[in-house]
Symmetry: C2
Subunit: 408 residues, 2 copies
């Protein structure tokens, strides 16, 4: 397997001004292309530091990627440093200079005098076009090994790296599938799959869990075992398919919008503790307007009564965080909107407001189509976590409901 | 100024499974404590790699922090590696072992046999208590220099690092103030402040900008210039105070909820393209229920008409994305909720739905108290960006409105 290393250059990283998302992106991509990343170094904008790091890492790897330090200012030293470390000359590419100036003209009335710096190319390097910004990248080869220089801003780096994937691909390129579950605990999933997953050694298994994406099972294998992986996925889905909500990049809200479209049904939601978060997740899916009509953020009890028609008696007798209340919210929403499916959420997100019988984290969710399906949860975590989990589990309930009604 | 370096250990980082948030957190904190971070290295769970990195970095710095690799499994090698690199012994601390076992008992029915590994302490090291997890940290001193070992999970690392701040503080500890603006462009802000900011060299100035937090001006100085910084902030606020929404960690939605409380006014919102995002931001502030009553996610035109009372005629003549429509939405919301201030948003978040006179990114926002203040925006970006900017600028408009009415 080929080895790689990454040098991210920039004092803003060492001062904690920005989060190093480039390193994570490159590591994921390199892994899939068949590289093992040995090391990530983050260093400041100092010529000798960059030179030393290149000299120390390049002999050990097949691919060295440097990010950052390609801007037009005197701080931007990556070009000079790599040239120096590899004993190559740096020369001004007049054609490139003209191209960069043309690009800059589109956005600025004046061309900064130092923009010329970005047109310096390392001897023998191939220039990598930057479709977004003014800083071009560079690709060098030496003894069958490669050094790549990319700009720091992710919106420039990502498309530039994508354009290089074909030439970087190795025979060890990986094949990867991520299976996503929401309402099944990680340990239970592992129990169900223990035999299938750990009786083989061709596919590497990683599990990750959080309260936004749920439990994810990431399966990685080399190209030669691709067929084996596909068969393994089939076996896994036989055992756990009913719990699965998505594969690879598909998000829960995208799945739900897709299932709603397939079923031809419309949705409305009434939210108290989530306060619009569930609606907002759904609306962020392009094309949601075909299936989502909207809803009511019934945060105060007055709104629950006046807009949704929850009875004064219900609030007095059972409180706003009760089965009875969410059912009346959902029914009121149905009369108001005429949507096929109505979801209502009410809960205590904290940090205050909990009582012994209904501690912080108590959340009631009703899903109402012909009948009510009412669920009670006790979530832990801070206010934002409780609200996020409530919105996500409401989506998961809706997904299961649509799957089941689809089957009938 | 003292020098520091960070080694983050973990193959999960090199495989891109997780984002290196620890590095950013530590860099920010170390800067404020008076250290200059020279380098961050990320390496895998391999003994010799860790040993080499410690040997290479420790001679160059006053403080070396290692994160990760303190778990109970055979992969967790940071203890062994640091002991080896510094030629110190590693011994089993029986008292620590008993403590760790007691902790683990609380959460697990069985004590894993390998938990003992976490009780190995490097000769001469001080044990750092872990208030959250089972892995203790370690602090070593050598020739007035320090090495610190901390566990990888941020929820364990952060409180443990906080507990060390007093002993790590240097005479060069920094003082820092962040000033936050929303509706003023970065370049305009810099123009206003050029003279004040760049006629001095005691305070370091950094600007950052994004569409969630707006434009932030970060001012950093050493302890000796603290008074100068305070005076500088005063001068800056004289010129730009009217644009400022918050200082340091305060978020826009927190400011708005605070101002609403101070003014004794209630708020309701009617959202179309933002689809609940504005409500959700407000509801995430603890105590929002005192001032926020809720609202309507009027995503479909039917809901705009049936719940908010927008006239059929208005929709036909001007469309849903029009001054007229958001005004009627706000008026309808006021009759429905009785809230003092009503905000209505309607726009085209894309990717489709734009027309030549109203391209994607066109957003109308109405703020209605006694009178209407209606604003039209043309945002660029993807669907989520346009929605986020709409929600944030609505909050900013409300903030300015509350400030102004407070002044009358």
């Amino acid at each position: 397997m080929k080895k790689a290393a990454i040098i991210t250059v920039g004092s803003e990283l060492l001062e904690g001004l920005i989060l190093n998302r480039n390193a994570q992106f490159l590591c994921q991509e390199l892994k899939n292309l068949g590289y093992r990343v040995m090391k990530i170094s983050t260093i400041g904008d100092h010529l000798e530091d960059i030179v030393d790091e290149v000299k120390s890492l390049f002999p050990k790897v097949h691919l060295l990627i440097l990010t950052g330090g390609l801007g037009p200012t005197r701080d931007d030293l990556t070009r000079e440093a790599v040239a120096k470390a590899l004993n190559r000359k740096l020369f001004l590419d007049q054609g490139l200079k003209a191209k960069i100036e043309e690009k800059v003209k589109k956005y600025h009335s004046e061309i900064p005098s130092n923009i010329e710096r970005q047109a310096f190319v390392i001897e023998g390097a191939k220039v990598i076009d930057n479709p977004v910004g003014s800083a071009p990248g560079q690709l060098l080869e030496e003894n069958g090994k490669r050094v790549i220089l990319l700009p720091g801003p992710p919106r420039e780096l990502i498309p530039m790296f994508e354009s290089l994937k074909d030439i970087l691909k190795t025979p060890h390129a990986f094949h990867q599938v991520t299976l996503k579950y929401y309402s099944i605990p990680e340990a239970f999933l592992e129990d169900l799959l223990r035999e299938i997953l750990y009786s083989q050694d061709k596919v590497e298994v990683a599990t990750m869990a959080d309260h936004v994406e749920g439990v994810r099972l990431r399966l990685t294998t080399s190209a030669e075992h691709r067929k084996f992986l596909d068969e393994l996925v089939e076996k896994i889905l036989e055992k756990t398919g009913e719990y699965l909500y998505g594969i690879n990049d598909e998000k829960m809200e995208e799945v739900v919008v897709r299932l709603l479209k397939e079923s031809g049904k419309t949705l409305a939601v009434a939210e108290s503790c989530t306060g619009g978060m569930l609606s907002s997740l759904i609306v962020n899916v392009p094309g949601a307007s075909n299936v989502f009509v909207g809803g009511v953020v019934a945060y105060s009890n007055d709104l629950k009564k006046n807009i949704l028609g929850v009875k004064e008696d219900t609030l007095k007798k059972y409180g706003a965080v009760s089965e009875q209340c969410v059912r009346e919210m959902a029914e009121g929403l149905k009369s108001l909107t005429g949507a096929d499916i109505c979801i209502a959420i009410s809960g205590i997100a904290g940090p205050t407001g909990g009582i012994p019988t209904k501690p912080v984290g108590t959340v009631l969710i009703d899903l109402f189509e012909q009948d009510h399906v009412t669920m009670r949860y006790n979530f832990s975590g801070d206010r934002n976590t409780i609200r996020t989990r409530s919105a996500m589990i409401a989506l998961e309930n809706l997904r299961k409901h649509l799957k089941e009604s689809g089957r009938l």
